[in-house]
Symmetry: C2
Subunit: 395 residues, 2 copies
Amino acid sequence: MNTERMRSLGEKRSVIRELFEYGNRRKAEIGAENVFDFSIGNPSVPAPKEFSEKLCRMIAEENPLALHSYTSAPGDFSARKAVADNLNRRFGTSFCPENLYMTCGAAASLTISLSAVVNDGEEVILFAPFFPEYTVFVETAGGKPVVVPCEWPDFQIDFEKLAEAITEKTAAVIINSPNNPSGAVFSEECIKKLSAMLSEAEEKSGRKIYLISDEPYRELVYGGIEVPFVTKYYNDTIICYSWSKSLSLPGERIGYILVSPENPDWKAVYAGICGTGRALGFVCAPSLFQKIIPECIEMTSDISVYERNRDLLYGALSGMGFEAVHPDGAFYLFVKSPEPDANAFSEKAKKYEILVVPSDDFGMEGFVRISYCVSTEQIERSIPSFKKLAEEYSL
Amino acid sequence: MNTERMRSLGEKRSVIRELFEYGNRRKAEIGAENVFDFSIGNPSVPAPKEFSEKLCRMIAEENPLALHSYTSAPGDFSARKAVADNLNRRFGTSFCPENLYMTCGAAASLTISLSAVVNDGEEVILFAPFFPEYTVFVETAGGKPVVVPCEWPDFQIDFEKLAEAITEKTAAVIINSPNNPSGAVFSEECIKKLSAMLSEAEEKSGRKIYLISDEPYRELVYGGIEVPFVTKYYNDTIICYSWSKSLSLPGERIGYILVSPENPDWKAVYAGICGTGRALGFVCAPSLFQKIIPECIEMTSDISVYERNRDLLYGALSGMGFEAVHPDGAFYLFVKSPEPDANAFSEKAKKYEILVVPSDDFGMEGFVRISYCVSTEQIERSIPSFKKLAEEYSL
């Protein structure tokens, strides 16, 4: 029954949200500066000043009728051209505006892509840990999530387990690198092996397996790490992007879907994307934020803050004896719980006013996610509390 | 198969869009001033200057982190409070922010509402003529559209036909008043009768029938006409709104869903709306346009232009012998085709450079839709051409 599924989805409490709300109550009680809230993955550096200025100028100078009008269903041509040109310059690809479909953000990119390529009862492979809504989105498309866990300590793909997970019913595989919640980035070697394995499976079954690459953290990488650009390795690729993190615009719901033209059937897939956009009610992404894209395609927020935070937090926690995935990207630190139950660890951390998210909802037990998209100063102030927490576990 | 449905939806050409594109080619050939393009329902009056100024000020003065951040999933509390207060003042209702869910526009409002209350195989009653995407949205929710035609000349509900259409499987009824494409407004008497009939059917079957009221044209009414506010007549009401038309912001995708608290089960319905928002990928409507709502809740664009256009066009065409529904609202004139096939009539109109949309895609044959959201001057200049068209039919 659809309506029961929807109701229970609406009634289910999110662990992250509950922790965040607990944090707000606690801040009211003892002062915001005394609560170390690492629960939420919201950018902590603002959109560039130049971006706001350009946005203002556009509103002041352009004809409001044109600025706020419907764009074509797949999106404003100039925005799509700016994205294609930018990707071609950075990655040596040959995309054209016709490969792109502008969306209301990353969630929309994913729900549209999934419904365009997954049929009822088909399987979609997810690598744990993963963003909790992936299972919801896969089920909306009528698909069945199949989870392949990544493994300590580097959180690359476990290819033995992947080989077992691929079946005749596999319609798609979702990757998210840099990863929320682990911060891991899949290496070029990993992407090459993944592509080879999927291509082999396609040949064997004669059916397509789409690689859906969810990339809102593409630009958030540190220490000179490069994120392999997936269309160069695997033809049946669909890229889902959002400017939520790179430009600190999470609320504005602006992103895109790119259907790789290396797939000989790309036009049919693209038609499916357009059709799903209609069917779900997504036609035309927010126009003002589409029209600013050509002006800001080369910009990012000041990402250097996240790198500083990462170095500080990873260094300090490692020094105390905590074990964590070394995060090459995104703004999360994925820390092993010193006791088997990460929920109990998260509860204990609250005693020291530290809010961290247990990993169970990310499809993996025994870790906590620490979102370091906070002020560097909050991290500095939290270190004595982390130390006390470490002492409680005799680390 | 989902993917085949999506692909064919993506490949299907829209009659309106084709006509619009023909118009653009024709304008390039003979000059824009010589083509009388009445094909598209885009607002022709801009958003108020004060709106643009407030938007600029907000961007310049507010902290960009707060301005562009995620709001809570159902939407910014201040925006929802502003909407509730505004409706309560205008209609004597008692809504609270908790009854409201902010959305990415009217299409999103509809797809979310439908999936929240319709189960696979249930029926949704539509009154023809209707916005063509309604059938797509109903089918996405797993529902089956059941069409009840409105009748010449006043385009109110035909209650005999409605009585035949209601079955044990009826889960929802969609109304759209003021109507696209007819411009008709359902009278208070009509809404009262509809409510009584639905209540009776609910009592008989013991099952809920939701009245989904799609109201983007609520404020676009002329000659002192009042649009009955549906929650006052029927408890199981869900209102879908968008600022696309009233504030001329069609591209910005900002609207809301209101679940009437007069329904004793409203909290469960609201949970279903929240769950569907998650499932379809719609959580958090565009934040900048949510946050401007309290500042502009009392504003509309200069709607008087549409009333002038209506009077001019309705008067002129009636005088030539064309028969049309008297439009009390929206910005469409629904004209009887002088020959049975409205497509042939639309083709003939092209000879005189007049572009009007045949009604078939609106679920009704034998009419054309004339969108009078154009400059008054275009209407004035088109009148000699309409006269020639009337002469061709010896009206």
